[in-house]
């Protein structure tokens, strides 16, 4: 790689660089700003994210590879980057008021969100295992720190350390799997691994299995899902929203990239495993969510079952490649709006020393804050998959692709689960609309309210007119299929 190529590649990753640079600027500025004004660092963060977003839109026009094939910058990457940046941007908007309420540190928080997002963005484009592993770690380590960010709260620190230990365990497994694949193929590039794949060699099989285990952990699918409720419950509310959306989407992106590009020779085998995993993930997530009294914990379990629905799309892509893959991509896009919205609303309703997380905490919401109650209603309808929201359209596409690919049982189990899930989502609304007020609600926070309005309008309008965003998902999936 000569200097010219390095320069050219550097220009190609300007969206990621703009985030990283903004993070660095925040770190430098932070000590010079008086405490009173620190919350205004938010505007710099938002500016950096918006610049990244704008630069990323360019990527829909070309497909390039940068750094000697290390990164592949195509529509798939661009699509996922949109998800990450939207998630990060809206999460920071809501965080600004939340941090102010809970007296956390502004500068470091935003910087970590930016670094984590840039890790996700690079992760979705990485086609080589060294960069892939490092981006994976940049994303994960930032999120471990964010989970433990509220160091005055033992719960938060505890969730941070638990996340670090379990996440470190899974990355060690992933690393060992990569070592075996490297040993068997002599390369760390996905295309070369695919071309040298040899079913006779046990190292390939073992390596694929270990890498699958590493990714299944990050996606939060059965049987490695037990960490999710604990860690989601302990982390600060906005962080939970951010990681339930961003980390999950990034894990799906890298999963698709690695398994479809690198290990497609073994497709039949891992698809069968995924079938089983997705059935158990949906069902177990749903059954556990039903009995929860805490909304935060319920949403954590429901995020497990949503990972299961997205996996249905991956399995369906075995028969219907394009439809299946684009339905997964679309599902993750829709999930960003509805899940971030749900956690964002809870963050909006949290008080200084008490997070709004139990069902009782939101009773009487309709009388006191009707607009927030309507937004919460849209998010819950969307999560339950009730028309005309975005969640309905996404689920419809996933199950349709499963039926087209003739996975009838999978589609039936998925639909049954989806019906079952309506119970616990609607129970939240019963408390919000029909019960008397028990707790006090915080004062209005205009910026957060604005973000929640965008999320709920997005979930509604994109549900009524889904075609444009669906086209985008099809284009992204098309650029990715070899």
């Amino acid at each position: 790689m000569d200097l010219n190529e390095v320069l050219k590649s550097t220009f190609l990753i300007t969206p990621e660089l703009s985030l990283i640079l903004t993070g660095m600027i925040l770190m430098v500025l932070d000590p010079f700003i008086r405490n009173r004004f620190k919350k205004e660092l938010f505007w710099i963060t938002a500016l950096g994210l918006l610049i990244g977003f704008a630069l990323n839109l360019n990527r829909f026009r070309y497909t390039e590879s940068a750094f000697a094939g290390t990164l592949s910058l195509d529509e798939f990457t661009a699509y996922f980057n949109i998800i990450f940046i939207i998630g990060a941007l809206l999460a920071t908007v809501i965080s600004r008021d939340y941090i102010e309420k809970t007296a956390l540190k502004h500068g470091e928080y935003y910087a970590l969100i930016l670094f984590s997002t840039s890790g996700m963005m690079l992760l979705s484009s990485a086609r080589e295992f060294i960069s892939l592993f490092l981006c994976f770690e940049i994303m994960s380590v930032s999120v471990y720190i964010l989970s433990g960010f509220n160091r005055r709260s033992p719960r938060s620190v505890e969730s941070g350390i638990k996340y670090l230990v379990l996440g470190g365990f899974s990355s060690a497994i992933l690393l060992y799997g990569i070592a075996l694949i490297y040993g068997a193929s002599g390369s760390v590039f996905l295309d070369e691994i695919a071309s040298r794949f040899n079913m006779e060699n046990p190292l390939y099989i073992a390596g694929t299995a270990l890498i699958l285990a590493g990714f299944v952990f990050k996606i939060g699918a059965f049987p490695l899902h037990q960490w999710i409720p604990d860690i989601y419950e302990g982390a600060p509310m906005t962080v939970t929203g951010f990681m339930s959306v961003g980390v999950k989407a990034a894990a799906f992106a890298v999963f698709l990239r690695v398994f479809f590009e690198g290990f497609s020779t073994l497709e039949v085998q891992w698809m069968q495993i995924l079938w089983v995993i997705s059935v158990f993930t949906m069902t177990i997530g749903n059954l556990a969510a039903i009995v929860q009294r805490s909304i935060k914990r319920m949403l954590a379990y429901s995020s497990i079952s949503h990972a299961g629905y997205a996996l249905v799309g991956i399995v369906a892509s075995y028969g219907e490649k394009e439809l299946g893959l684009s339905s997964v991509l679309y599902y993750l896009f829709a999930y960003t709006f509805m899940n971030l919205g749900a956690f964002g609303t809870l963050a909006y309703l949290s008080l200084k020393d008490r997070e709004c997380e139990m069902l009782e905490d939101i009773s009487g919401l309709w009388q006191r804050k009707p607009l927030v109650a309507i937004a919460l209603g849209i998010f819950m309808f969307s999560l339950a998959g009730i028309p005309p929201t975005i969640g309905f359209f996404a689920k419809y596409r996933v199950f349709l692709s499963a039926i087209r690919a003739e996975f009838y049982w999978l589609a039936i189990i998925g639909i049954l689960n989806s019906v079952l899930s309506a119970y616990y989502y609607l129970r939240v609304l019963v408390y919000a609309y029909m019960r008397e007020e028990q707790m006090e609600f915080p004062a209005p926070q205009p910026l957060s309210a604005f973000a929640i309005a965008i999320l709920s309008l997005g979930a509604l309008i994109l549900g009524i007119f889904p075609l444009y965003s669906w086209e985008l998902a099809i284009k992204a999936a098309g650029s990715f299929i070899p």
Binding site: Y144, I161, A172, A179, G183
Partner: protein, 102 residues
């Protein structure tokens, strides 16, 4: 050709990996859990370097350096969190940290 067959290095790395994984699972002292994580990452490094030798390819060495950085980062952040949790609870027992049910 070498005196020791390369698969013996690899078996050693697999054994160390399993010891590390077992340590993460059975131990309750957070600091020792972090050490067991180090053992796991270190065993992957042995595998990388051994494969590098067998393939006469330097990529494994580069990967080992990166994995080492990752190990250092995880330990630094992990120990910081351990110190923070100790300030709250005066214990390092994973089981006592039961604020989160699960």
């Amino acid at each position: 050709m070498m005196g020791v067959p390369i698969e013996h290095y690899l078996v050693l790395s697999a054994i160390l990996f399993v010891i590390g994984a077992y340590g993460v699972i059975i131990r309750k002292n957070l600091i020792i859990v972090l050490m067991s994580l180090e053992l796991m990452l270190n065993s992957a490094n042995i595998a990388f370097v051994a494969f590098s030798r067998a393939l006469s390819d330097m990529t494994g060495h580069v990967f080992m350096i990166m994995a080492l950085t990752v190990a250092a980062v995880e330990v630094a952040v992990g120990l910081a969190l351990v110190v923070a949790i100790y300030m709250h609870k005066e214990t390092l027992d994973i089981d006592v940290l039961k604020m989160l049910k699960g």
